[in-house]
Every structure is written in C-alpha cells, then in structure tokens.
C-alpha cells in the first residue's frame, strides 16, 4: 500500500510535467488545428535556458534558493515565449492558408532544426543541471518519503494551470482565444486580431513548456539536446488522450499517462515503459475516438 502511494506520487509528478507540455500542444491545436511538432524541443530549450541562466542569476541572487529558482524559471519562460512567437511568425504563419500537412512537415523541420542546432551549440553530451532549490528534508508520513522537488513540481504545475485557466476564462485575450478557436473567420469579422491571438497562444504554450523543461531538469538533472523528443511525444499523446483542443483534457491526459507509466514500470516491467503511453492511447481511442473529454466532430455534408 505504501509503495503504491509512493508510486502514485512519483506518477503524479511526472504526469504534471507532461500535462504542462500537453497544454501547449492542445492550445495550438485548438486554435490552428495543427500539431506543433517542435513543441517538445521548446521544452528542451527551456531546460537549457535554465542551465545557462543559473550561473548568471547566481551572481545577483543566492542559488539554490526560492527567489533564485523563481527568477531562473520566469526568465526562461520569457525567453521561450519569445522563441515560440518567432517560430510561429517565420515558419508557420506563411503557411496558414495551405493544407495542414505542409505546416506539420514545417513543424517537423523546425523540430529537427532545433535539435541539431542544439547539438551543435550546446554539444551532444548530457549536461548536469544545477540545483535551483535547496533540498528540504520532509517528514516521513507513514513510511512515504516525499522528495521536495516532487512537491514543488506538483505545486508549480497546479499554480500555472490555475493561472492559465484565469487567462483563458477571465481576460479579454482569453475570450479572444476561445473565439478564434471556435471559429477563426467569425472571430476575425467581429474585430478579433487573429494574428495577435495566435502569437499570444504560442507565447503562452511555449512559456508553459519552458516551465515544464525546468521542472523536469530539477527532477532528472541530466539534460541533452534530444531530451525533448520522448516527453514531447508522450505529452502529445496525453493531449490526444484527453481530447485534443480541450485544456482540462490535456491536464487529465498528462496525469493518466504519467501515473500509468510509473505504475507499469514499477510493477510490471520498466523496459516496456516507453510503449505504455501509446498502448493506453490506443485502448482509449478505440472506445472513445475523440479522446476522453473531446467533443465528437460531426461531418457536415
């Protein structure tokens, strides 16, 4: 029982990170109906931004400390948000009127570009991510051992999700995002500047990916330029699982994938770990073809 609870906590921490990445996939999909394959690499760049920022921040603020970690995270999120906007502006916007597949291939090109440039600039060898937060000793609860980083991951994810929910539901920009996602043409006719909304969506998604990258690196402190591929894929699976285009769905999907993966590698076999996400996805899509919380789209003739 204790072990199961322990695994659940581990799974929840991994799932939170996947959920943060999945939110970016699902937001972009909701608005552009297109899979941004380069999203996993923005996650990687977030981790590297943190890696290179940490020594600079350490000159101003003490590190490891809460203030220092917060500064690293916020600046990395800002950098990646700007990057996301740039990618959209130069690689995706010119193709917006083309079939979605061309945009998908461009996204794959951007993904390859970021990975290979990453290997060229940062070097292909894994780097050790610096410690951002001091490890607090936590009381053992009934034999459960908490890792303070895991608690931080879950808490930060929850905060970011509440923030995102506020932006989407309570602000002007959020309303514009929902309008564009519902019907881009009608939104444009009502005076919504779709370009600004799309840029904002990319900025938001990329910032969340950067946060996920730093949280990931804090828990698994070895980072390399290809680290974004698998978490990116699994997060995408999580987004589809929850019903792509649906924000709570992405969060739910992330948690489901994270927990199942941890449980299976803990109890069944760790070598099958990377296939679990896909197996869960296929099983769920067979029963609910549009994902857990997704709306069924009706073909209009």
């Amino acid at each position: 029982m204790t072990e199961l609870l322990q695994q659940l906590i581990n799974g929840l921490a991994l799932g939170s990170i996947l959920a943060l990445i999945a939110l970016g996939y699902t937001m972009v999909y909701g608005i552009l109906r297109f899979i941004n394959f380069a999203h996993g690499d923005v996650f990687m760049l977030g981790a590297f931004a943190g890696f290179y920022l940490a020594p600079k921040i350490a000159l101003v603020l003490p590190l490891p400390s809460i203030a220092g970690a917060l500064a690293v995270m916020i600046i990395a999120m800002a950098i990646c948000a700007a990057l996301g906007v740039l990618i959209e502006r130069f690689a995706y916007r010119p193709l917006r009127q083309q079939p979605k597949l061309t945009m998908l291939i461009t996204a794959i090109g951007v993904s390859l570009f970021l990975e290979n440039t990453g290997q060229f600039v940062f070097g292909a060898n894994p780097k050790k991510f610096p410690q951002l937060l001091p490890a607090y000793p936590l009381p053992q609860l009934g034999g459960l051992s908490f890792n303070s980083n895991q608690i931080v991951v879950i808490a930060v994810t929850a905060l970011l999700m509440i923030g995102l929910r506020f932006i989407v539901l309570k602000t002007r920009m959020g309303r514009a995002m929902r309008a564009v996602s519902f019907n881009p043409e009608a939104a444009a006719l009502m005076g919504v500047n779709t370009n600004v909304v799309i840029s904002f969506t990319f900025a938001l998604g990329s910032a969340l990916a950067a946060a996920a990258g730093i949280l990931f690196a804090m828990n698994y402190p070895s980072i390399d330029p290809l680290m974004g591929i698998l978490p990116g894929l699994k997060a995408f699976v999580a987004a589809v699982l929850g019903g792509i285009g649906n924000l709570p769905g992405a969060a739910l999907g992330g948690v489901i994938i994270g927990v199942t993966e941890t449980l299976v590698s803990g109890y069944v076999s760790s070598t099958y770990r990377d296939a679990i996400a896909f197996a869960v996805l296929i099983l769920i899509l067979l029963v609910k073809p549009s994902g857990l919380l997704g709306k069924k789209e009706v073909d209009k003739v």
Binding site: Y29, I35, A91, P94, L95, Q98, P99, L101, T102, I105, T106, I108, G109, V110, L112, F113, N116, T117, Q119, F120, L233, F236, V237, V240, I244, S269, T271, Y272, D274, A275, A277, F278, A279, L281, I282, L285, L286, P289, S290, G291, D299, V301
Partner: protein, 324 residues
C-alpha cells in the same frame, strides 16, 4: 502516371537493374550502399504514398512495418548457412515475401481497429503502433533485443533493390489507376460522398494499409540484407517521418514526384557529407576547407526542409495545385 507503357517500363527497369547488378562488383561498398538506400527509400515512399497520398489517410508508422519485415526476413535467412546462387536467391525471395506478409499482417492489425479515427488521431495512433513495435523488438531476446541482430547474409544487390522498387511503383500505379483503385482516390477526396456512392471506405483503407505495409516489409527485408545489422532503435519514428517528408515534398499522390523526392532526399545528406570532404573549392585559390559542413550537415538539411515547405508547399514536383 501513364499506364499504357507501364509494363514496358517495368520490364525495362527490372532488366536494367539486373544488368547493373552484374557490374556492382566494380563499385566499392559505400556508393553501393547509398544506391541500395535509394532503392529502399523509393519502395518506402511510394508504398507510403498509397496510404497517405492516394487514400488520404495519415500514417506515421511506416518504419514500424519496415522493422517487422526486416526482422522476420532476417530471422528466416539466418537459419541457412552458405548456399549456392540459386538456393540463396530462392531463400531470399521466400524471406522477402514472408517479411512482406508479416508486415501486411501488422498493417491489418493497425488498420482494422483504427478505422474510426481520422486525421491527427490516426496519425498519432499509427505513430504509437510504430513505437510499440520498436519497444516489443527491444524486449524480444530471440532477436537480440536492444543489442541488435546481425544478419548472416548480404544478399541484397542492385537487381533485387531496383527490380523490387520497379515492381512497387508498378503495383501502386496500376492499383490506383484501375477501376477498383479509383475508390482510394474517392475515399481521399470525400469520404462521405464516396460512402454515399456505395464505396466501402473501410475496405479501401484497410487494403491501402495492408498493401503499403507489405511493400514496407519488403523494403525492410532488403535493408536487413544490405546493412546486415539491425537494431530496434534504427526504426524509430524519425525514420517514419523521413518517409512522410518524401511523400509530401514529392507531392501527395504524385508517384513520379515521390520517386524524385525519395532519390533527392536520400542523396542530399550524402551530398552534404561529400561536400564536407572537399579540401578546396575547385578554381578558388586559398578557399577554406568545407569541413564545417560535416558538423552542420543536419542543420542544413532541416533548414532546407523548412525553406522548401515555405516556398513550395504543394510539393517540389507538383506543377499545379490540386484544388481542395
């Protein structure tokens, strides 16, 4: 593609590859391997074009089918020791066919349950199947698991690669140009309308998946007996993506374009690699060696991909845009 002369072209291509294979002794290992790679990419891209281009489905797991074919054929031929030419070719034919059939079976397994899914959902599920195949191979100790499987015989030659590439092109072209095969295009253009006209779209999608997977399996068999060493990670989803890129750059549902794109995209990284080996640019005194190309080869490749998609989104070799 004009089918009237197709049979002549097919026989010509097979004869040409037979003649070429007689001279392959005079070609050293590396260029020969690149030539095999071109043939294999050609089979992969043209068969994927049946699924993605003509039937309008979106498969991201073609490398998975290739892996099934590669491993099954390798397991069969590894049972045999040294054989004379005729026995070797007979066994190789059987192994390639078996690999193709195993892959087709995998294609059916993927095709049947995923038919309710559309577009992006289908894409991610096929990608998932490809990854699951890879992880299963990684865990199968009988085929070496993650350590990989060495293939005893290097039976792949120019005749087999380009002969089978010609057959693939012919079969796919003949299929979509037949009365039966118009159904593929109908399913792509408008599934609802096709259903209303009495076309069983389910059957067409499954057929496309099975036939496409069959040829991917054959390509896998050729690959196994060319490189003579298989690892599950060699068939990851980046390989599937590489073939999808060939199909899209060639122009979806344009066989000639896809053939050209397959050749171009296989040669491009090799060409960049050769460029990196050049000491001086000819005719330019004191020019610096191009060795920097080696490190930036993949960056150049990805940049070219982005620029190509931005400038020719309809595909490199499509002259006019299909109206949608």
């Amino acid at each position: 593609m004009n089918l009237r002369h197709a049979k002549t072209v097919l026989l010509g291509a097979i004869a040409l590859s037979l003649v070429a294979s007689l001279f392959s002794r005079h070609i050293s290992g590396y260029p020969l391997f690149v030539a095999y790679n071109i043939g294999i990419s050609l089979i992969m891209a043209v068969s994927l074009n049946l699924i993605n281009g003509y039937t309008g489905q979106f498969s991201l797991g073609h490398a998975g089918f290739m892996a099934v074919g590669a491993y099954s054929s390798a397991v069969i031929t590894n049972h045999f020791g040294d054989l004379n030419v005729f026995a070797a070719n007979a066994v190789f034919t059987f192994a390639l066919l078996a690999g193709g059939l195993a892959a087709a079976l995998a294609g059916l397994l993927v095709g049947v349950p995923t038919l309710r899914l559309r577009g992006d959902y289908l894409a991610i599920v096929t990608l998932g199947f490809g990854e699951i195949i890879r992880v299963i191979l990684q865990n199968m100790e009988a085929v070496g698991g993650a350590r990989g499987l060495s293939v005893t015989h290097g039976w792949t030659n120019l005749f087999w690669t380009f002969g089978l590439a010609a057959v693939t092109v012919y079969v796919v072209a003949a299929l979509v140009n037949s009365t039966y095969g118009r159904g593929f295009i109908a399913v792509r253009d408008d599934e609802v309308a096709a259903e209303a006209m009495g076309i069983n779209s389910t059957k067409y999608k499954v057929t496309a998946f099975a036939v496409g997977a069959f040829f991917a399996g054959i390509a896998g068999g050729l690959y196994a007996h060319a490189i003579q060493f298989l690892t599950p990670n060699g068939f990851g989803f980046m390989l599937s993506i590489a073939y999808v890129v060939m199909v899209i750059l060639g122009g979806m549902g344009n066989t000639i374009g896809v053939i050209l794109a397959a050749i171009l995209l296989t040669l491009l990284p090799e060409g960049l690699r050769m460029l990196a080996d050049i000491e001086h640019l000819p005719g330019i005194a004191g020019s610096r060696p191009l060795s920097w190309v080696e490190n930036t080869r993949m960056i150049i490749y990805s940049l070219l991909l982005i620029v190509l998609m931005l400038t020719r989104p309809q595909g490199l070799f499509t002259l006019r845009r299909r109206s949608r």
